[in-house]
């Protein structure tokens, strides 16, 4: 099965020029986005997840940010080098975005209807009348009751969950090929979050878009993602299918993330927390950025940056622990529990306990959602 690559990000480097110097926010990010899939990007604040996606939309502030090198290939075009005018044709049409805070991402002085019809009139040359019809359809699609009345209302007349639905309706107006959702449910309650996630999955099936989903909630990731990329210190440190990342993670940072969440079975034991603080990207450390916080740190981590090691066809991790010469290490209990849990649920060994030096027989097949 050959899956079409809809977006390729190649060796992306982005810096911000600040008073205290050059902040190297993104340091060599590579990933592909396939048609119809949901790729989740996780990582702590400052790891570069939002900067990566904003660069795809070319929404980074012009006065202090710079794409130092790299390519963002979409439809054979390099978005990183596109002129503003050409980018405007893509933004909101082929690629659109849902922001974190539905309270601030709508224009408070414009009626909802006009905000939805704006991209339709601009990108698809629709007449006002047709655009309005389409806006009504969209509002129905995202589950807003009484769209005929709602279309003439202002954002303040909507609740948080309803506003996020409106934002989604705007993002979907032109049937985009890629939808970037930057923490779309973080500001919402769990019950509303569940509704919005279901809505997004539903819509994805209907219009077959690819979604890049940014979040730091691993529960949400498990719910929506086909594949997961874990970012740390401006780089992707591990990427794989959702099953691979959740049941057989290989990078010690991913181990830390997974161990620090209580699941329903976590009893009295102390919660694991990753010691220390994220790296200072003004002066990125030599070697592995995670090394100072890594309990399994080796000498080489401090000297040389780890390359990506292949775990399976779909699963890569950048840690020296996967090098054939690395000593075997014992992953934390929470990770081992997950490996055996996976074994129990599927009857498939999720790639052996410990580290198999890159030849593990991991079932790389992607189950349909």
């Amino acid at each position: 099965m050959v899956v079409e690559k809809i977006l390729q990000v190649k060796d992306l480097n982005i810096s911000f020029h600040t008073f205290s110097g050059e902040v190297k926010a993104i340091r060599g990010v590579n990933f592909d986005l396939y048609k119809g899939e949901t790729l989740a990007i996780v990582g702590e604040s400052g790891s570069g997840k939002s900067v990566t996606t904003k660069s795809i939309m070319r929404l980074l502030p012009e006065h202090n940010s710079e794409i130092k090198s790299g390519e963002i290939l979409f439809n054979g075009k390099d978005l990183a080098k596109l002129k503003d005018r050409e980018m405007q044709k893509i933004r909101g049409h082929d690629i659109s975005m849902i922001f974190q805070d539905p309270m601030t991402s709508l224009n408070p002085t414009m009626k909802i209807g006009n905000q939805i019809t704006e991209p339709l009139i601009k990108h698809q040359n629709m007449s006002r009348h047709d655009a309005k019809e389409r806006a009504l359809d969209l509002l129905k699609l995202v589950g807003i009751p009484k769209p005929e009345i709602r279309i003439n209302q202002y954002p303040h007349q909507f609740s948080g969950g309803m506003r996020q639905r409106v934002v989604i309706a705007i993002a979907l107006a032109c049937n985009p090929k890629i939808l970037i959702a930057d923490e779309p449910t973080t500001a919402l309650d769990v019950t509303i979050q569940a509704q919005i996630l279901e809505l997004m999955k539903d819509l994805q099936k209907k219009i077959d878009t690819s979604i890049i989903f940014i979040t730091h909630d691993l529960g949400v990731v498990a719910n929506v993602a086909d594949r997961v990329a874990v970012m740390y210190g401006g780089k992707i440190v591990e990427i794989g299918t959702a099953d691979e990342i959740f049941y057989n993670p290989k990078h010690p940072y991913t181990w830390g993330l997974i161990s620090s969440m209580p699941d329903m079975d976590t009893e009295e034991e102390e919660l694991f927390s990753i010691p220390g603080t994220p790296p200072d990207l003004l002066d990125p450390p030599k070697g592995d950025a995670f090394a100072p916080r890594n309990p399994f740190v080796m000498k080489i981590d401090l000297e040389q940056e780890p390359p990506f090691f292949k775990v399976s066809e779909t699963h890569y991790a950048a840690t020296w622990l996967l090098h054939p010469d690395a000593p075997p290490v014992d992953p934390p209990d929470a990770v081992k529990r997950r490996q055996s849990q996976y074994l129990e649920m599927t009857g498939v060994n999720s790639g052996a306990v410990g580290l198999d030096k890159g030849n593990s027989q991991f079932p790389g097949k992607k189950e349909g959602k």
């Binding site: 691993l218 969440m261 102390e270 990753i274």
Partner: protein, 312 residues
């Protein structure tokens, strides 16, 4: 268990805003529960359900519309001299949700933390005051050098630690933590929760832990209360609540939490809650009833019997 001392008794607490006007809001409507000494009581519910208002009313940031809050048998609300109020304020402290908004940006950390010490005259000399501040900073995992900095120089997790240090400064017995970790990253959340748990053990504190992240609440709490539209709909021990949720709202809330588990997520069925589904008759009295020992549910007589049968 039954012999444990009740530290706090909340009886029919009501907090109405815009009372008597057409836009009256019953933010907290007849809520009663007890908090025992040394326990962590969790309070969950969606935004607008009144959980924060409950916390703020308990500590008298709002004056209650009705009902009583008894702390060690003494009513918190009601007429009090300044002196009495001050004594009471020392026993009860609060940690706020937003570590960015809850620290005065113009005060140095030492002064933020020592404000309570100054007000209550807990330090006899300048030196003692600073020593106390250093000690508190260490307790929450920061160090001495941080005392002379300003809030903007700290990350969210560090600020929340400062908020905790400030609350601890007056040696309280009871702390209300209003969504203390919601604004923090996952890895930092674990640090703060561990810290709070450790402090509780070391100092014998009692917490009211308000949050909407249910897995974290389950982890830290002994008992959990679920609120919906200003009312407490279910109250039980943490394990009981998760294993045997009785009220349909609690069930829907639990079914909405995404678990970090892709396989179970694929097959998950969500329940939605419709308040109309109860079909209460006019003469049915809907009350907070004890279904099994320690497990309370807001229900009618009929539902009560049904829940009891279920729980057997």
């Amino acid at each position: 268990m039954a012999e444990r001392k009740k530290l706090l008794e909340i009886k029919n607490l009501k907090q109405y805003f815009n009372e008597g006007r057409p836009n009256e809001v019953k933010a907290v409507d007849d809520v009663s529960f007890d908090i025992y000494q040394g326990e962590v009581m969790g309070l969950v519910g969606e935004s607008g359900c009144g959980k924060s208002t409950t916390g703020r009313t308990i500590i008298r940031l709002y004056d209650a519309t009705g009902g009583e809050v008894l702390y060690d048998g003494i009513n918190v609300h009601g007429n009090k001299s300044k002196k009495q109020l001050k004594a009471f304020n020392r026993k009860m402290q609060m940690i706020f949700q937003d570590p960015y908004a809850s620290l005065n940006p113009r005060l140095k950390i030492a002064d933020v933390i020592a404000e309570g010490i100054d007000i209550h005259g807990l330090a006899k000399s300048k030196q003692e005051r600073m020593e106390r501040v250093y000690e508190l900073l260490e307790t929450v995992g920061l160090n001495k050098e941080h005392a002379n900095r300003y809030p903007h120089e700290f990350s969210g997790g560090q600020r929340q630690r400062i908020g905790i240090a400030r609350a601890l400064a007056v040696e309280p017995e009871f702390i209300i933590a209003d969504e203390p970790i919601s604004a923090l990253d996952v890895s930092i959340q674990a640090q703060v929760v561990n810290l709070m748990k450790k402090l509780q053990k070391d100092k014998g504190l009692t917490y009211l832990f308000i949050a909407h992240d249910l897995s974290m609440v389950k982890y830290i709490s002994d008992r959990i209360g679920v609120m919906y539209f200003g009312r407490m709909v279910e109250l039980a021990s943490a394990d009981d609540l998760y294993r045997n949720p009785l009220h349909p709202y609690t069930q829907s809330l639990l079914s909405a939490i995404p678990a970090p588990d892709p396989i179970s997520e694929r097959t998950r069925k969500r329940k939605s809650y419709d308040p109309a589904s109860h079909n209460y008759g006019d003469n049915e009295s809907v009350e907070f009833r004890e279904v099994t020992p320690g497990h309370f549910v807001l229900c009618s007589e009929k539902e009560f019997k049904q829940y009891q049968a279920q729980s057997k």
